[in-house]
């Protein structure tokens, strides 16, 4: 992608995302290169996302937001993901998503259910602030019931403190 297109994309995201910061749109080192095809497949007149973009668009393909310990604040590096999914919800009003909040193993099960829900709601709030409709989003909490790893260390814990975005209607 050339510089102009990149700036245009950044501008587009910043318009749709209320909580857009300079840091948020900085391309991330670990992020896969943006798929040219996905961008050109957007309707050029409106720049709207299409159904197939969920599988091809580099930003939309990212469906996990990670959190700090006992925190529900969305870190700057995940604001771009929130912004593109908010735009998708806006562009496709029939689409539906489930946000699944998760925690690390520390603390008790029922309290962690509450913490997982709080993270899910933080992502939901950011999505609606960025243009998604609350009616398109269903938040559930798995607490610490669905860990992706089970080791007792920060590396594993940081992978479990997450909200997963699951589309139930594209």
């Amino acid at each position: 992608m050339n510089k102009t297109a990149q700036i245009a994309l950044v501008a587009l995201l910043c318009v749709s995302a209320a909580a857009c910061t300079k840091k948020a749109v900085k391309p991330m080192a670990e992020q896969a290169p943006v798929d040219q095809g996905a961008m050109t497949s957007n309707d050029t007149s409106t720049g709207k996302y299409k159904q197939g973009d969920l599988e091809t668009d580099a930003c939309l393909r990212q469906r996990v937001v990670y959190f700090d310990f006992n925190q529900t604040e969305i870190k700057p590096e995940f604001q771009q993901i929130v912004a593109c999914h908010a735009k998708y919800l806006q562009d496709r009003p029939t689409s539906q998503m489930r946000l699944e909040g998760n925690t690390d193993e520390r603390g008790t099960r029922e309290y962690n259910l509450g913490l997982g829900e709080r993270r899910g709601k933080a992502v939901s709030d950011a999505l609606t602030a960025a243009g998604g409709s609350a009616s398109q989003i269903n938040v559930i909490s798995n607490g610490k019931e669905k860990p992706v790893c089970r080791e007792h260390n920060e590396d594993c814990w940081s992978k479990n403190r997450r909200v997963e975005i699951v589309y139930t209607a594209e």
Binding site: R109, E110, Y111, L113, V139, H152
Partner: protein, 441 residues
């Protein structure tokens, strides 16, 4: 001369017994003596004599012996140290047991009662006073019920000596998770208080948690994720029939706790947008909101024994802490002030002992706050990931969940923290223990 030889043999036997005692006690039972147990009472349970019929599959004396050791109140003499085998009071040579520094001795016999039934008789004697304290013939029972009979005997002896009702003849509920990832099967099980006779009550491909016994011991309320979100069910453990009692499609339906009279269920619900405590009337199905907070997490409600107030976990002050409020709602009072955070409260039957999970850094341990001692906290588990404390109905012991590597395991611990035992229950993860009420014959 013969008398001297006899005495020598006896002294040697006693010495040998004392030398071998610690090692054999450790290896046979997986009981950890955490601190010196000088306060525990020495008692001998002599293997019961078989009078007719074939040997039953249950060693009655062994079950009683293990109950006593697990309680922390008693130190039962190791089997290998039992040098004589009296089966009735008139056979007891009290000098022998005095030399072994025993305060009490239990003897008994198992009689064939025909048709696969047996009758157990036992006697409890005070060694120093050479006095009979209890002598009882149990109801004839099927051979398969001998563990129950043994626990009932342990309860009667425990009560006679300590003045507190025994809680060995009780059941526990817990959750197991067997398998990995999407192939995990979750089960709700009920077992005897020592982990024997596990029975599956419910199974699910999705997580189960928070089992809670109804006060009559007939039903268990629990949380299941089988429909995708958390919902609360109440299941009759005899018939297996179950009711869906809380299933708001929006938010959490969790943390059920029965009121002491069994007519209500305190729950944590977030359909309103924030997780709060409610009381569900089981007859009318009416929900009454107890906490009215719009920002914090409020969960894990537990009733006070008089049913007047509810303890719960809330992070309204930042970190999670324990609060107490009237069961009909209104303001809440914070009751936990030690440690970085406190969660997951359990209350003893008399309301004096309050157990909770206390987190400090990355270490989570079971702490007991004794309200009669000015809110002081003592730790009864070592951590680092302990949770789900649950008191026995006489509050003499607790169950809690811990980890062994990445595996979940259950421990029982005496309320003074002195004696701890790991329950060997199942392959896979074991978690969420809940100690049931007293059983009625």
């Amino acid at each position: 001369m013969q008398k001297l030889t006899q005495t020598l043999v006896l002294v040697l036997a006693v010495l040998l017994a004392l030398i071998t005692l610690p090692a054999s006690a450790q290896s046979s039972l997986n009981i950890q003596i955490v601190k010196g147990t000088l306060s525990s009472t020495p008692i001998t349970v002599v293997p019961f004599a078989l009078q007719g019929g074939s040997p039953p599959p249950t060693d009655v004396a062994d079950v009683i012996h293990n109950d006593f050791n697990r309680s922390g109140k008693f130190r039962a003499l190791d089997k290998s140290s039992i040098v004589e085998l009296p089966s009735q009071g008139s056979d007891i040579k009290f000098d022998t047991w005095r030399l072994l520094k025993q305060d009490y001795i239990v003897v008994g016999r198992i009689k064939d009662a025909g048709n696969g039934m047996v009758q157990v008789e036992y006697e409890l004697w005070d060694v120093n006073k050479q006095q009979s304290l209890l002598s009882q013939a149990m109801q004839p029972a099927p051979v398969g019920d001998l563990r129950n009979v043994a626990h009932q005997i342990a309860d009667a002896i425990y009560q006679k000596i300590t003045g507190v009702r025994g809680a060995f003849w009780t059941r526990i509920a817990y959750i197991t998770a067997v398998g990995l990832g999407n192939n995990t099967t979750y089960s709700l099980l009920v077992a005897d208080s020592d982990g024997f006779n596990p029975q599956v009550v419910a199974r699910s491909k999705e997580s189960l948690l928070s089992p809670a016994w109804s006060p009559d011991g007939k039903k268990i309320a629990y949380v299941s994720f089988e429909s995708g979100n958390s919902n609360i069910y109440v299941q009759d453990i005899t018939t297996g029939s179950r009711q869906l009692v809380e299933s708001h499609p929006k938010g959490i339906n969790g943390a059920p706790a029965w009121s002491p009279d069994g007519s209500k269920l305190a729950v944590a619900l977030s359909f309103s947008g924030n997780l709060n405590i409610y009381v569900l009337n089981m007859a009318s199905r009416q929900e009454t909101r107890v906490t009215s907070d719009n920002l914090s997490i409020n969960t894990q409600p537990v009733w006070s024994p008089d049913g007047q107030s509810i303890y719960f976990t809330s992070d309204r002050s930042g970190r999670p802490q324990i609060y107490q409020t009237s069961a009909s709602g209104g303001g809440a009072t914070r009751i936990s002030f030690q440690g970085q955070n406190n969660q997951n409260v359990a209350v003893g039957y008399d309301g004096k002992q309050i157990a909770m999970v206390q987190g400090n850094g990355n270490v989570y341990r079971i702490a007991i706050m004794d309200q009669s001692l000015g809110g002081q906290v003592r730790f009864v588990s070592p951590g680092p990931y302990d949770e789900s404390p649950s008191f026995a109905p006489n509050a003499s012991m607790l169950l809690y969940a811990a980890t062994d590597g990445t595996r979940g395991v259950l421990y029982s611990v005496s309320a003074d923290g002195n004696v701890r035992q790991r329950l060997v229950l199942s392959d896979g993860d074991v978690r969420e223990p809940s100690w049931g009420p007293y059983r009625e014959r």
